[in-house]
Symmetry: C2
Subunit: 329 residues, 2 copies
């Protein structure tokens, strides 16, 4: 059977940082909460000699005709050679006969979209309705996608951002002011960002805590995106202890890889502490934010259902538009 081959530029014609992408990812989170998804543990290939790591994620969502297998790489010496640190692709498989249907050579684009979508879903249910300032720690691609996707669920007036790299920081400010048409302010450290925002997104590859609990304030929502492996960490464990509400994308992952993992290991989060999954909120099984003064926190490690949702959306839209090459294998 032929396989559809799609390139990044074609996929960018099909899928955007918009309400449709968010809806597809949200539906998948609901399926996860309702026990309608099979999510095998992440496969991780470490290539220490080249300071690289490759993750393979997948998930089957009952009722969908296809599921994705997604490969994402991070090679952290690449920028020194003038290369992007990350790359990736997605494969779409038939869930009924097991044949490959499409290879989505997206260079990581779809991962950025589905990750942005998860942040928007977290904000939809956990941020205050009225917010003024979005705080961002980090200045990479996802620091852009998170803020751009947030516009779909919240109005905000400004962005305050910090990055330890001054070049990256000034580029972020210039590019995002233009993209958003809003003021984007460079902060002189993470404290000024956290203290001065209503919604904080952390999106760094940090292996040391950046955000301190003493900077938190009533009504703040935090989406912590960066930690997706055992050694990464953006929040000191006290931040989780101080939050009124803890949410994550998938407990089995976050308790092993995410910020929850560090807080539990430090003994600052009891094994039976209440943690809800994002899909449980989206499915209406547990409430989202319940007051304007709560401090809420969502720990995102990235789940295979997001990849399946976005890959299937991309494939359906590409098919409708007649995009892609049909390869007879």
């Amino acid at each position: 059977m032929p396989i559809t081959i799609l390139t990044e530029s074609e996929l960018r014609q099909c899928v955007a940082l918009d309400s449709e992408s968010i809806a597809a990812v949200e539906e998948a989170f609901v399926a996860l909460a309702e026990g309608r998804a099979v999510t095998p543990p992440i496969m991780r290939i470490d290539i220490a000699a080249h300071h690289g790591e490759v993750d393979v994620k997948s998930a089957y969502v009952e009722g969908l005709d296809s599921f994705a297998i997604k490969v994402a790489s991070g090679f952290f010496d690449n920028p020194k050679r003038g290369l992007p640190s990350g790359s990736g692709l997605m494969l779409l498989w038939s869930a009924t006969v097991g044949f490959p249907q499409a290879a989505l050579f997206d260079n990581g684009y779809l991962t950025h979209v589905r990750t942005g979508a998860a942040g928007a879903i977290a904000a939809r249910y956990l941020a205050r309705q009225e917010i003024e300032t979005v705080g961002v720690i980090g200045s990479g691609t996802q620091a852009r996608y998170q803020v751009l996707t947030l516009r779909e669920v919240r109005d905000f007036r400004r962005v305050r951002v910090y990055s330890p790299n001054p070049d990256h920081l000034s580029r972020y400010v210039a590019e995002m002011e233009e993209a958003l048409g809003l003021p984007v302010e460079a902060a002189d450290g993470p404290e000024a960002v956290v203290r001065g925002c209503d919604l904080l997104v952390t999106t760094t590859p940090s292996t040391e805590p950046i955000v301190r609990a003493e900077w938190l304030h009533p009504g703040l929502h935090i989406t912590a995106m960066g930690s997706d492996s055992e050694h990464k960490q953006e929040l000191e464990p006290e931040v989780l202890a101080a939050a009124d509400r803890l949410v994550c994308d998938l407990k089995s992952q976050c308790f092993r890889l995410g910020e929850h993992h560090h807080a539990r290991e430090a003994g600052l989060l009891a094994p039976d502490a209440q943690v809800d999954e994002l899909g449980e909120i989206a499915a209406g099984r547990v409430p989202g934010r319940t007051s304007d003064s709560e401090i809420t926190l969502c720990d995102l490690t990235g789940v295979g259902i997001q990849d399946t949702a976005i890959a299937l959306l991309a494939y359906q839209k590409a098919s409708a538009l007649g995009l892609g090459m049909q390869l007879e294998t």
Copy 2:
């Protein structure tokens, strides 16, 4: 960077059931034994609603510039619809910068070659030098590939085969007599195969033991290929207890998925029973067969290093031949 797209017919021009494929796979087993390989656990996606399973395997071998990520599916209702039960593809990734280099749309062909190669390596070190009859239980693609690849390491005079499906059995006999130019005899049951052969290959999707210990005889070598998941089993546990020498491809897999798993669970194989890995023998760390009367057994579940070895060989040969399409992603 462009990605090389290769189809099954192109890959068949590059890689065959020959000594070169066997050598590439054997080198990878040596690297595994010498601790030069990173082999993450298999990722498994079960799709119970469609009687399907999908395995993702990968391994990085130190010193190689690339590594493979391989997807293989088995959907066991497909034959009823006139479709092959299995499919697959391999991705080749740069181990230095983490970008995808090639997509090998082989429809499972390379998996068949690297699996045949592992059987040949097992026979090289574990079968008697002089053998007359190869016994085969099973009549699928791998039942063919195993025997065809064996010719690279042993001369034999005939094949004796059993399959419970008479149509499959007669087709196997006809096709393999022509392919081998040797007599291929259909047996009326598994007992006649086991009692009447010097080297036995079991290659079925059975979930019930087929081979009984009482049929074993001095000098027999068994390569058990079929069991690669928890519920599959071809040998009764007493077969492992009766063998003089136990070998497998990867202990951490075989103790969880292969024939060893069932024998250990049945209490017929002590947790500290001596089991060697095929790569340890290939590396010269432990001996192969040490007498003509030993009963030897090799339990193969399929390891990601085999995929990396064969995918890299295919890519190198395709590049040398100028095959494949260069896709700008």
